[in-house]
C-alpha cells in the first residue's frame, strides 16, 4: 500500500486543501498504520506546544553586543564603561528607573541633601551634556536594571566574568553613578560599607532577588590605585530591605 506520507503533516495541522484531505480520509479508512501515526503526531504536537519558553540566562549575549558596539568605534579603548553595558538597558526598560550619573560617588552622600528630590528631569541633561570639563565623556546615564528572576551565585560569577571581559585597559575616571533622585540602591550599597573611593567605579546597578531575598547588586571596577586601570571586578549584593551584605563576588581582570 502506498501511504500519503507527504500529506500527513498538513493533515494533522489542518492545512490540507479539501481534495487532498478527501484522499487522506479515504486512505485512513483502510490503513491502520497511518491512523496510528496521525494519532501519534497529534500527541507530539500537543506535547511540543506545552513546552514552556525559557528566559535567556544573564551574560549570554552581552559580550557579542559589546563586540558589535566596539567594532564601529574609532577608539574602542576609550569608550566609557557604561556603554558596554547598555545592552542590558532593555531589561531595565520595564522598570524605567532611568536616571543619570554625573557626580563622583564619594560626593553622593554629601550632595544628596542638596540635590534632594527636586526636579528629577532637569539637571541631569544639563550637567551631563554641558559638561563639566573634568568629567567630560564619562558623564553618562547609568540605568538601574530591574530583573524579575531570582539570581544565584552562578549568575553573580557570570556577571563578574562578563564585566571582567569587558573591562577597559585604560584608567577610568572616577565619575560613575549618581542616580537622581538619589537612589536607594546606591545609598544602600554605600551604607553597607562598600568602599567607594576613587578606586571603585560602579558600572552596573541591578535590582533583583538574590536567592529569594530582594536585593541590589552593584558591579564595580576596582583599581589598585586611583588613576590606574581596574584589575578586579567586585559584585556587591545587599538586601534592599536593610542594606545588609548578602554576598560579595570578586573576579580578577
Amino acid at each position: 500500500m502506498t501511504h500519503p506520507e507527504d500529506l500527513l503533516a498538513e493533515y494533522v495541522d489542518g492545512t490540507l486543501a479539501d481534495d487532498q484531505r478527501t484522499v487522506v480520509d479515504a486512505h485512513l479508512v483502510t490503513c491502520a498504520r497511518c491512523r496510528q501515526e496521525i494519532e501519534a503526531a497529534g500527541r507530539a504536537v500537543s506535547a511540543l506546544a506545552a513546552l514552556p519558553e525559557e528566559p535567556v540566562p544573564l551574560g549570554v549575549t552581552g559580550p557579542v553586543v559589546a563586540e558589535a558596539e566596539g567594532a564601529g568605534r574609532p577608539a574602542p579603548g576609550r569608550r566609557p564603561a557604561w556603554e558596554r553595558f547598555q545592552w542590558a538597558g532593555g531589561l531595565a526598560a520595564a522598570a524605567a528607573l532611568l536616571l543619570v550619573a554625573v557626580v563622583l560617588l564619594p560626593q553622593l552622600t554629601g550632595r544628596s541633601d542638596d540635590e534632594g528630590t527636586g526636579g528629577t528631569a532637569r539637571a541631569p541633561t544639563a550637567e551631563a551634556g554641558a559638561g563639566d570639563a573634568t568629567l567630560g565623556a564619562t558623564a553618562a546615564p547609568l540605568q538601574m536594571e530591574v530583573l524579575e528572576r531570582d539570581l544565584d551565585d552562578g549568575d553573580l560569577s557570570r556577571l563578574a566574568k562578563e564585566a571582567a571581559e569587558a573591562a577597559p585597559a585604560l584608567p577610568e575616571r572616577e565619575a560613575s553613578a549618581t542616580l537622581e533622585p538619589p537612589d536607594p540602591a546606591i545609598s544602600c550599597i554605600d551604607e553597607s560599607g562598600m568602599t567607594v573611593g576613587g578606586r571603585d567605579v560602579l558600572v552596573r546597578a541591578i535590582q533583583a532577588p538574590y536567592l529569594g531575598t530582594p536585593a541590589y547588586v552593584g558591579v564595580f571596577h576596582e583599581s589598585p590605585r586611583s588613576g590606574e586601570p581596574p584589575d578586579t571586578i567586585v559584585v556587591w549584593v545587599v538586601s534592599s530591605a536593610d542594606c545588609a551584605i548578602l554576598t560579595i563576588v570578586s573576579q580578577g581582570i
Binding site: D6, A9, V12, R43, L51, V56, V60, G72
Partner: protein, 213 residues
Amino acid sequence: MAIGPKWPSSRWWARVREAETDVDLVRRYLEGDVQAFGTLVERHERRVYNLALRMTGREEDARDATQEAFVSALRKLKTFRGEAAFTTWMHRVTVNACYDLLRKRQRAPLLRERDEDTPPPREPVSPDHADDVDLSIDVRAALLDVPMDFRAVLILCDVQDLSYEDAAEALGVPVGTVKSRLHRGRVALARALGPPGDRERSDTGGPSDGTVM
C-alpha cells in the same frame, strides 16, 4: 551615527526603535550605528536561546550556541539580503550554530546522561497522572531521541511556529522535505515519549525514522 550619551537619548531611541523593522536596524548597523545590533539581539535572543536549548538539550550548550549564533550573525550581517525575514535568517544561523556544536561535541546531551544513570520508566503513563512539569521534562528528553534533522524541523514548526516555507528557508531544504520530516519527526517524538497505552516497543523505531543521520 553614534548615539551620544546624553539623557534622555537611550530611552528616546528605545522608543523610536520599537517602531523600526529588523531590516531598518540591520541597515542602520551597517551604516555605522553600532547600537542597532544590540536592539536586534534584544528582539531575537529569546527565540534564539529557546531554539538552541531545545536543539542541544542542555543549558550550557544553549548558551554557547546562542553566543555563537549572534557572533556569526554579526559577521554575516552584510550578507543578509532582506529577502527572507530577519527572524528566518536568524533561525538559520542558529540552527547552523547548533549543528556545529552538536557535531563538535559528539557527546550525549545532559538529559540523556541523566537518563543513563536512572532510566526513566518506560511503561505507559496514564495522561491523568502526568502533570505538566513531568510532561515537559519528558518532552525535552524525548526530543533528544529524535534525529537532529527531524528535531530541527519539529522545533522550528511546532515550537517556534514557523510556516513550512520559513522552516524550509531556515534549513535550506525544499518545503516538501520539511513536511515529510515534520511528520516523521512527530511520530518519532511520540514513540520516544512512550506509548499512550497500546504500544510497547518504543525504542525499536519505525521504518523510516532514525535513518537520516
